[in-house]
Amino acid sequence: MPQPTRIVMPTSAKKGEVFQVKTIIQHEMESGFRRDNRGLAIPRHIITSFVVRYAGGEIFRADMFPGVAANPYFGFTTTAVETGEVVFTWTDDRGDVTTERRTITVA
């Protein structure tokens, strides 16, 4: 099931300009090391992969482990190449995929 996300990045940039992208996705990132009220282990449930593609290539990728905080947040930079879609894909360890797209206009 897709999870709610938040993406902050410019909608336009000059060609060759480096811009920052910040993303958050809602996910408990259950570490697998916690126990519930009855003392039973809570199964691990984490996002394991976050990939960002733009202008024909991968511009950022993160491999996640239980040490990433709940509601994973990432900030990174990339260069404005051409007008197009930036595609964000998060995949968790149950195979649930969340995909978001943002358009950037490059002049």
Partner: protein, 256 residues
């Protein structure tokens, strides 16, 4: 003449009491957080509470139920219609005479105007909508009505605030009036202001309502933890809002 004098004396006494019981100046919860937490709150790209605000914006437009209505069907653009609303809450609902906070108002609307079920406290939906509505008052000063029909609720809240509670036998003010700014273990004790709620609490790893925070206070002094939306917490919420009058709203804030 005598009547006038006694009225003005009573008024003066009330003003003096009010001055003493409200921290001067009121300081936002943010002032008592670490530099990193302040940074996280101030950057809308990093503030995790904004996740719920975005969801609230979507829920605002979601048509539901037999009436086929969304919040937006009546209230249109929240940026206009909800601006300053959260700054006036909690308030007394004229029709029912009940004291409602933003969560209560959202659910009253759902039941009475949309004919759909209320969202439970701490559900993602209620957190998202209440954060979204509060967000429309970001930066606007708090100003609640405490007279007229609100007076009994206000007095109940004030009494609850000043009552020693729990096994630790502590009243709210013993920390948040008498000792704010001092340290409790590694933390700086805050004024207990409510300008930033709903807030993303690091400890919870999620957004939570003010009532969730109040329940944690009750637990902390080992008093009875009351239900979400309990009349005592609602009355306290009104008193706390008055106590922090003038503070600009900052929800969704980040708290340790």
């Amino acid at each position: 003449m005598r009547a006038l004098l006694s009225v003005s004396l009573a008024l003066a006494a009330f003003t003096a009491a009010a001055a003493n019981e409200r921290p001067v100046p009121p300081r936002p919860g943010l002032d008592f957080q670490s530099a990193e937490t302040r940074q996280m709150q101030s950057d809308d790209g990093a503030n995790p509470g904004m996740l719920w605000v975005e969801q609230g914006a979507a829920l605002w437009r979601r048509v539901e139920g037999p009436e086929q209505r969304a919040c937006a069907s009546c209230h249109k653009s929240a940026a206009d219609s909800m601006k300053g609303v959260a700054a006036r809450y909690p308030g007394v609902d004229a029709a029912s005479g009940a004291l409602l906070n933003i969560e209560g108002r959202i659910n009253q609307c759902r039941k009475q105007r949309m004919s759909v079920i209320a969202y439970p406290y701490e559900s993602n939906e209620l957190l998202a909508l209440s954060a979204f509505v509060s967000y429309q008052s970001r930066g606007l000063p708090r100003k609640v009505a405490v007279d007229g029909p609100a007076r009994p609720f206000f007095e109940a809240g004030r009494a609850f605030y000043n009552e020693r509670q729990g096994q630790l036998n502590l009243a709210c003010g013993q920390c948040h009036n008498d000792n704010w700014g001092k340290r409790l273990r590694g933390d700086v004790i805050s004024q207990g202001q409510t300008d930033g709620w709903p807030a993303y609490r690091l400890e919870w790893q999620t957004l939570g309502s003010l009532h969730r925070r109040l329940r944690a206070c009750s637990l902390g002094v080992r008093a009875e933890v009351l239900d979400y939306g309990a009349p005592e917490y609602l009355a306290l919420e009104l008193y706390l809002a008055w106590r922090g009058e003038g503070l600009p709203l900052t929800s969704p804030s980040v708290r340790r």
